[in-house]
């Protein structure tokens, strides 16, 4: 329950500091799907995502004082997940996210599996071929509806770079999209 004059973010920060089980359960329920979706867009992998998501929550609980409630909780959560996934791929699985660019889409791609209509199916292949930094910028802007400033803080790049990644990502998707339309 919120205290008088307390924002939602401050309530979450207080709940985390006190290890309030109600708040923690509520956060996992509210953000688990979004966390999984963000990690899939970032890495184009499904098989490690549940482990990363669980470890992300454990880190959230281990470092509750790092979140002071002044910014959005989801940007903090995604930034933990981002570092964790990138480190894990680099160190233990010997994979760099950059190396995936321009590789053909795996038929078991999580995007194909998650495509529920024709529009999504048309995008799935293009998304798989898109670089992780572009997919990440797109999911954060259009799914999570973060502002350019918030994305910039999360990924640690200037606002202009973020805007340029979104623009370039859209451009590449549009080219594939129109090619698909012409094929049909």
């Amino acid at each position: 329950m919120s205290e008088p004059g307390e924002t939602e973010a401050e309530r979450i920060a207080r709940g985390l500091r006190r290890k309030d089980l109600t708040v923690i359960r509520e956060l996992v329920e509210r953000y688990q799907y979004r966390l999984v979706r963000y990690l899939i867009f970032l890495t184009a992998r499904r098989e490690f995502v549940d482990d990363w998501a669980q470890e992300t929550w454990v880190r959230v609980l281990n470092n509750p004082t790092q979140y002071d409630g002044r910014s959005r909780f989801d940007t903090w959560l995604f930034s933990i997940a981002r570092h964790l996934a990138i480190d894990d791929l680099r160190r233990h699985r010997n994979v760099s996210l950059d190396a995936e660019i321009d590789q053909p889409l795996d038929p078991q791609s999580p995007f194909l599996e998650a495509a529920r209509n024709q529009e999504a199916a048309r995008l799935a292949a293009a998304l798989g071929a898109l670089g992780p930094i572009y997919r990440e910028a797109l999911v954060l802007r259009f799914h999570e509806e973060l502002s350019l400033q918030e994305i910039s803080q999360l990924v640690g790049t200037p606002v202009q770079t973020v805007a340029s990644r979104i623009r370039r990502g859209l451009e590449r998707l549009r080219i594939d999209w129109e090619r698909g339309a012409n094929d049909v």
Binding site: L21, A114, A115, A120, R141, F142, W177
Partner: protein, 143 residues
């Protein structure tokens, strides 16, 4: 400054979704797109891409979801590392205090014993001369 109206229109179509555009730009864009089939088609492509992006539905493994919930809640119930360190420090402090406490108690006992002995000795010194007095007197009389 963009002089090509189509280039400007396409920039604004994307910018409207990325960072937002002014009402004047929005009005200009509506006006342009109503007259330009190609830019209208471009706008429809961008809108279709965004609809497609938003329609992905990733399945959450229900077992994995429950595992995450349980692991997170179990972790939250555990005492934090800071508490564990504090507890360990308190135990160590107690263990370290035992020999100190014992030696203090020993010293106190020894001091009490010394005081008792002094007390006994002083009483003995006072009592014996008094007890000897009649004997000394009778010896003096017989002489």
């Amino acid at each position: 400054m963009m002089f090509d109206p189509h280039q400007r229109a396409r920039f604004l179509i994307e910018e409207a979704r990325i960072a937002g555009i002014t009402p004047q730009d929005s009005l200009w864009l509506r006006h342009h797109a109503s007259d330009c089939m190609e830019c209208a088609r471009y706008e429809e492509s961008v809108a279709g891409i965004l609809r497609g992006l938003n329609s992905f539905a990733f399945e959450l493994d229900p077992g994995a979801g429950a595992r995450v919930q349980n692991a997170v809640l179990a972790h939250a119930r555990k005492p934090s590392p800071a508490w564990r360190w504090a507890l360990a420090a308190a135990v160590l402090l107690l263990l370290a205090m035992v020999p100190v406490y014992r030696s203090m108690r020993q010293a106190r006992r020894e001091k009490a014993d010394t005081l008792l002995m002094e007390e006994v000795e002083s009483r003995v010194r006072r009592v014996i001369p008094l007890a000897m007095e009649p004997l000394i007197q009778s010896q003096e009389e017989s002489q």
